[in-house]
Symmetry: C2
Subunit: 304 residues, 2 copies
């Protein structure tokens, strides 16, 4: 999955000597082996032990403090974060053929003519195969270049703009419910999830819509709002937080701006907040149960 | 406990407008009230939601990124960390009279003539009262200025140099076992803990010595070492980590430098490490059970 020689070649292009390595959870078992290989080739490597959820989760400030001259960021694609130190985004691709599963579920997709195909960076080749197969079946396949993500059809936790609105349905190919759920929250149209691990296609429900709506209703009564800000470079938006604070105060609420590295519920226990507004990773808003209090998105504040 | 007017005056001295506020767990209930007060006085305040264990745990880089012009760090004393943004350390003092408890435990301290008194910054006034009382009882009270901490008799999690070696015993006055335990690990002499919350004095045992010794024995056989580095300004020591890595490799071990913000066990699960060497907060070494594998201090590596 990791082409170590190719990685080394990329590093050498930058003439880097001291590397800061970031690796997402799913690739951690390969991490120490890669570090050993790079060290044998004369490099110094610091391995970030922090979680790495996406390209937004770039630890460039830590790399700077450590005097590194390159960040090697595995498994995610460049989303255009500006840094003082160069970053090599090494995308990890998984070869997967979705055709057998698509054949099995031909009936499920029968009612839909125009299909918008979506995936994450590691399954982009599966998207190509699916496109070819479905077009042969007479479908019109819609794919577009997203706003923040890099490739046509690619989604990020904060970017579902690759979903083509005029499609009759959406088909996400990948692993884990995080992305197809995120998509289902953002559309009224059917969202199908081809689960590469289980080899099935299922339709996703928009489970959160009603919970979220109820959350907004509850917050109308509430007075003490916490505004969540993350210092992670790709999630950092203090100006939005300031605007939300003013908007809340104009509605007679009290609001405090809270700054996090990683956003977890226990960090705000004991502050006596009633409700949260999330100005960091948009997906935190969906971790409804976790915080045991309503978590609104910035766009919800005008509904209060 | 918090003199808000005094805090405001300190801030005004620095002509600061945008404040980054750090507050330890025990003061969190007072946090939002203080923020509200400062905002009413025309200041913008960002409240750090991250844990704040000591002055070492300074989030100056986050404050910089947010464009703040002052860090207000509550509850800890200055330990001399250099920063680009000024830091106001507002020490919180608790008025506590230890004499009634000392009277109750006169017999316990009877065998000891020279007593070294110790505490944390918030109970410094209790130290004065204890000194006066014990001297009247004929004891010789020893106190000295520590290396990193600011006041005679004051301890930090990483600095027990205020403990005067030639004493017959040590008496720590404060709250929680963290510090008296830390002291007990570092001396063969009796350590007494006057627990201000429970109103009792108990003798601390050095529980970790044997566990730690056994850990070193186990690590002799082990091959795969993780070296823990923290980016927290007061715990940051990558050069030590590099030296430890070389020392381990010269003993035929493999070693990887792991970089953390907050050091927690789940972040290194799945890496396949057998043993850890802690080059961050020295007290992590004592959280033996937490990591489910031996955690050595840097000084232990030469014993392998």
């Amino acid at each position: 999955m990791l082409n170590k020689l190719k990685i080394l070649k990329e590093i050498k292009k930058h003439k880097a000597k001291k590397i800061f390595l970031q690796i997402p959870e799913g690739l951690k078992t390969k991490a120490l082996d890669l570090v050993g290989f790079l060290e044998k080739n004369g490099l110094t490597v610091y391995l970030s032990a922090e979680t790495c959820y996406g390209a937004c989760d770039l630890r460039n400030r830590e790399a700077e403090v450590l005097g590194c001259d390159l960040i090697l960021h595995l498994g995610h694609s460049d989303m255009g974060i500006k840094t003082n130190i160069p970053v090599v985004y090494y995308e990890v691709r998984i070869n997967y053929n979705p055709v057998p599963v698509l054949k099995k579920y031909t009936d499920l997709l029968k009612p839909y003519e125009k299909i918008s195909l979506l995936t994450t960076v590691q399954f982009l080749s599966a998207l190509e195969k699916a496109k070819e197969f479905l077009e042969k079946q007479g479908k019109t396949i819609l794919m577009k270049k997203p706003n923040k993500a890099k490739y046509p059809g690619q989604v990020l936790g904060c970017d579902y703009s690759a979903a083509v609105e005029k499609a009759d349905c959406f088909l996400f190919i990948g692993s884990g419910e995080f992305h197809p759920l995120g998509l289902a929250e953002r559309t009224e149209k059917p969202v199908f999830f081809l689960d590469v691990e289980k080899g099935v296609i299922k339709r996703m429900e928009n489970r959160l819509y009603r919970i979220k709506f109820a959350g907004i209703e509850k917050c109308k009564e509430m007075k003490r709002f916490g505004i969540l800000v993350s210092v992670k470079p790709g999630q950092f938006n203090p100006n939005l937080a300031e605007r939300i604070k003013k908007a809340l105060e104009s509605k007679g609420k009290r609001a405090w701006v809270l700054v996090f590295d990683e956003i977890t519920p226990e960090k705000i226990m004991g502050l006596g907040l009633e409700c949260l507004v999330n100005c960091a990773c948009p997906r935190i808003t969906e971790d409804v149960g976790l915080f045991k209090k309503p978590v609104l998105g910035p766009e919800d504040v005008k509904k209060l």
